[in-house]
Structure formats: C-alpha cells, structure tokens
Subunit: 420 residues, 2 copies
Amino acid sequence: MPRANLLYAQSGGVTATINATAAAVIETAAKHPSRIDRVYAAKNGILGALREELIDVRLERPDALRALKHTPGGAFGSCRFKLKSLEQDRPHYERVVAVCAAHNIKYFLYNGGNDSADTTHKLAQIAQQLGVELHCIGVPKTIDNDLAVTDVCPGFGSVAKYIAISTLEASLDVMSMAESSTKVFVLEVMGRHAGWIAAAAGLAGKSENDPPHIILFPEVVFDRARFVAAVKDAVTRAGYCTVVVSEGLKDASGKFLAEAGTKDAFGHAQLGGVGPAIAEIVRAELGYKFHWAVADYLQRSARHIASRTDLLVSSKVGEAAVKLALDGQNDVMPVIKRLSDRPYKFRIEVAALADIANHERKMPANFIREDGFGITAAARRYLAPLIEGEAYPPYKDGMPGYVQLKRRLIAKKLPEYLVK
Amino acid sequence: MPRANLLYAQSGGVTATINATAAAVIETAAKHPSRIDRVYAAKNGILGALREELIDVRLERPDALRALKHTPGGAFGSCRFKLKSLEQDRPHYERVVAVCAAHNIKYFLYNGGNDSADTTHKLAQIAQQLGVELHCIGVPKTIDNDLAVTDVCPGFGSVAKYIAISTLEASLDVMSMAESSTKVFVLEVMGRHAGWIAAAAGLAGKSENDPPHIILFPEVVFDRARFVAAVKDAVTRAGYCTVVVSEGLKDASGKFLAEAGTKDAFGHAQLGGVGPAIAEIVRAELGYKFHWAVADYLQRSARHIASRTDLLVSSKVGEAAVKLALDGQNDVMPVIKRLSDRPYKFRIEVAALADIANHERKMPANFIREDGFGITAAARRYLAPLIEGEAYPPYKDGMPGYVQLKRRLIAKKLPEYLVK
C-alpha cells in the first residue's frame, strides 16, 4: 500500500487539552511510517485547508511537539468558520478535497465539536461522490460537553476542574470575611446552551450547605423572586452565599439574562455578562455587599490545573483517530464509552459522524436538583471522575513551559482560493 | 519567667497564603512550651478580640492545623473593621488590652496590611500607657504589596503568579483564533491604588511583542486615544491584543474608569468593573470582537497555583513574629529584606510599626515602561523571583484538600462588649 499524508485541523473554541490531542495524532502517525508519510496541520483550522495553508509538522522541533501535551490554546490555529450545507457551500467542500488530493493527503482528521463533525461528515460524502480516497475522521473536542454518543468531550474535564476549584477557593475567601464584608459572590461560567460547566461547580461542595449555594443553569428558567429568596436563605444559614451562573441563563420570555439588562449612556445594550446582572439583582433586592467574577477564557485555557483524566481522554481520541484512518474507516469519530465511575474506566468506541453531527447533548434532567439550584447525586457520579487527577505542566522561572510553534507552511500547488 | 498566652488575628482581605502564616505562628509557638501556654486566634479578626471571641487552637485537629499551610482564605475569619484614632476609638483599644489581660495574653500578633499595622501600633501605645505587658507584633500580609519597608508582602507573590499564568494562558487561546474570532481580550485585575498586580501580568511575556500587549496601570492616567491607537497597533502587528487593566485605572479628572461609565435603566451607576468598560471602548472605537474576564477573588484565593517563594515568605514572617514577641520586642513587624534577585535570597529584619503604619508603598516610576503600557527590566528583576516555584496542595478525588476549622471558642470572662 503506497504511503499517503495526513492532514490534521483544529476547529472552534480551543481548550486546555486540544494540543494534547494534536500531539497524540502526530506521535501515532509517526509510528506508522510505512503508511503515513507526512503529517500536515491546517493553519487556523478549515481556513487553512481551504487556502492551502498547510503547516509542515516535520519542521517543528521534536521537543516543541512534545510540549504540545501541556500547552493550552490551539497551537496550529483554530477558527470560527462554519461550512454550510452541501448545496450552499459545495465549492468549499470540493476545494478541501482538491487540496488534499494535490498533496497526497488521504487522511483528514478534524478536531472539533458539533459543527466540525458535520463538516467532516459532509466532506466524506463529497469525497466519495468525487471518487477521491479521503478518510474523514472526526476527533471530539469541546468544553461545552455537548457532543452526542461520547461519555465526555475532551476539554470539558479540565474546565470542570478549574471551575470546581475556583468556586471552592473563592468561597473560602468570602466565608472568611462575610460578617463585615462581601456576603454574596457571583461567578459567571461558560455554557450558552447547556449547564455542564455550571454543574461542575457543584463539585466544590458535598452538600446543600456547602458552596456553591446556588447554581443557575441555562436549563432552568430564571425566577427572580425564588432566586432572591434562596440568596437570603443561604446568607441567613451560612453567613454568605456563592452563586455560580451560566452565561446561558434565560428568563421566562427566553431572553438571555445577559442581554435583558440595561443600556449605557449611548443607548447601547449594556455589555456585561450575566454575572454582573445577577449581582445587581442581589444589590437591588437585598442590599448585600457583593463581588462578581467572570472567568471567561481563563477557564478553558487553564492548562496549569488540567484534569489528568481529561488529558488522558484527549490523547486517546487523537491516537484512536489515526488508527481508525489507517484501518480504512471513514465518516466516523472515536468516542468515549464509560465502563466504570470509580475508578474511571473507559474504552474507545467508534461512532458514525451522522449520529454526532447536529445532535446536541443536553444535560439529563435528573442531574439538576429538584429546587433547580444544585446538582444531584447522579450528576456527581458522572462529573467526579472527569476532574480526577492533576497533570501539571513543567515550569521554568515560575512560569509554565508552554510552546509556540513555528508554523512553517509547505509550498502551494493550487491556484489561490479566496475564502472571505 | 511565667508562661503566657498568645493571641493571633487575621485582618483585612485574605490571601492564598495567610493561613500558612497562621500555621507558622502556631508551630513556632508550640516549640516554646516553657514560654507560651496556649495559642488563641481571634474569630473574625479584631472583631473577635473586641468581643472576646477567642478560638482555642488546641481543640483543632493537628492535621487540620497542618493543612492550613495549603488552604486559602482566612481560616480563623478576618474582617474589614478599621479602628480609628486613639482619641476616637480609645474604648476599643482599651477593650482589646482588657481581653488580653483577662486571658493572660501577653503576645498579640496581628496579621494584615497598613491599617492593621496602624492598629497594632496604637495598641502597643495604649498597653504601655495602661502599664499592661502586651507585646504587639504586626505580621505582614496583603496582595496589594503596598506595605513600606518590606521587599514584598506575603500573599502578593501568589496573586502575581496566578495573574501572569492566566494572562499567558488566555493569550494563547485568543492567539489561536484571532483571525476569525476574538481579537481583543481584556483581563481586569485587582489593585485600587497601585499597579503591582497589573505589573505582574507583564511576566507572561518577555518582550513588547509578547502578551500582554497593553497594561493599564492606576499610576498612568488613562488616555483613550493613545489606548485605542495601541490596541490597533497590537492587532495589526500580532493579530490580536491582550489588555490587562487594573481596577484602579483613572481618567484625567481622577475618576475611576469603572465608575466613569454608564447608568442602568434605573439610573444606577453601571456595576461593571473597568474590564467591561475598556472592552466597550474597543468595541465603540475599533469594532473588534472582544472578550473580557474579571478575576476578582479568584486571583487572591488561587492557592492551587501559589508561588513557592510566597509560601516561604508567608511562613517565615509567622515564625519570626513569634520569636520577636518572645525576644521581648514590641511595636514592631518582621519584614523581608532582599539579598539577591536570582536566586531569590532574603533575610528577616525588624521594622518599627511606626515606619509601616500609614505609609503606602507605590510602585517605583522606573517599573513602568516609557509608553506607560508595560513593565521595564527593573520591574522584571523585582517581580520574577516572587513567582518562582510551585507549592501544590494535596488532592483527593480531583479536589484540593483544603480544611475548615472547628473554631471552638473559649469561655468568656468579661462582660459583653457591643462592637456594632
């Protein structure tokens, strides 16, 4: 069987461990020199594949490639660029196939979430229609944890760990001083459609009396009066109240709380996230001294406190994706099948991309406590193993030894293609 | 010499390492059983001393006391309660002296910042006037790093490390996706009067081309036009721009940017910190896609990524404070004298509280780059050793093994005293 090249691309919001997946892809490919000649990485995700901007991985230093395992962000560049339907964007799909053909690429590994699974699925169809051999393999990744079929999405466990620890740490701080200072602390976390990350904050405590006292999920319609009563109750009971709020929180009319707010002096909708909006409700209704934090990108890039379980899962899907490609598979994604909670055991299975693309996994209803403000024992059983273990990066002079790649491109062979 | 008791109290904003100071006080006291009988800790800082709410440290589990070394927050409780002048608050000072006398406390260790040094100083004076033997020792602590005389304030190094790492991590994230997504990332950090914490973000990069591209210090009057030009320049050069802004940033009229803003629909001043305000300027003037984060309490409680240097310094001042008390010293504070930058070497010296109380240490002018948007080599030399080394807490089930104390109080001997 003649040797062919492999193209790897990163897509969508990056994570603390997506580069560990990249490293696993590169390492695994290197173990099959009789089958895989060169590994290329698209510069800035699918944009690089369209523009024929392909990074030659061989030109990176070996120690830099190893350092990918502990470097957050997307080292080859990622993008927010959604390919539309085959009808609308057929030239784009054909272009990717043409770029692959021009560079003897027979393995295309696309590392992303729902949209990327959809793109990979469509690409497999187009290649087949065109009669071009191209093994299109999706590689899962998303902090949103909303991919169907898989037990967990690589990248989620590390955000979950960061949020659980940050919630606990800030709560210990607030608790110390609540009598004469801040009584209510609000932490805004990511999760526009599903409350997986908010739920992870629940791991900070073991019971309803532990922080976080209130979690506001996007799955639960915000009820201002009930929320205010719950804050008051927590402050009365515990002396303080930690609130974790998902950016996707909505009111009864389906409007995001983050938007529901106020206008600035120029009539623009107030910027601020839902964190300050929730804090403002506490101030207006209860008058408690408050503080709020918005973790934003800090949470998804916090490689310094990544979950070892997440790192393992992130590596395994990279390794599996290469093997699936070499096994002649196409239009599939390696996924995680949980075998046991404690210790966390899993195996890699294979899912059809059609079963993943455009299916959003919601949080099960039985993960949210009946009062809507916390997580259940079932949620704990699911979440706890995902934050298990630490995987510290190496440090030098007090700073983590994160790497930046050279990202040298190979020579183009095709005419220029303008994407936008 | 008859045995006496020691009272330790935590004051003001807590830190990731103030409990390590507490642990060192307790351990050092235990090494002098012939001199120190019992160690008490005031519940919620000076409030506990006033109310005669004294925690009996002996009733805590030994392993819990050891765990203080790696637990953030203030385990005995802290407070924001400033004693005023001797004229105005004389009864308060006399009450603390009376509480100490009632419980055979001859050593009073007060762990805090400027205000606490002032309180300790006044307490020493009152005790002397009343002819009561009470060795009043200040113990330094503050993330603001604004105490005079000492090279560094315990607690600062850990915030500095957290902010430097978070700035780097978020920048790697933004860099990955800047072409098609967020181009400007704004991180708001603490520091109302001095830019020490903002300056620490500068350790994320090594040159002007590295993130953070712009630091906005409270020491530098905010110039909107220059700022906008600098953001545009960074995006042009690097493809993205990381901005770190100190909560204390002010405009030319001396107004905090965080307040300068906008009113909500009810006419209240907009909540939001300076982070969203700066992001809004970027949106309005340049139209770049932006994100912002507000680290708030997360930064000062982030024991999970504490600086080993900070932990060492925090322990040493606790140990030294007990020794100073036993040496018969009074009205003093142990401070850090730097002996070398690299490796960081220091020794403990003794400073008069009068030289510390009410002296605020500003950042030296030569720490801020000429353009006002970054740090100088001198700042790097000062800051770098303070974030050196990691000091991870132990973990169980993926979470740090932080402790909460029982905080059992001893029996009161005096009539009730109403503080507020």
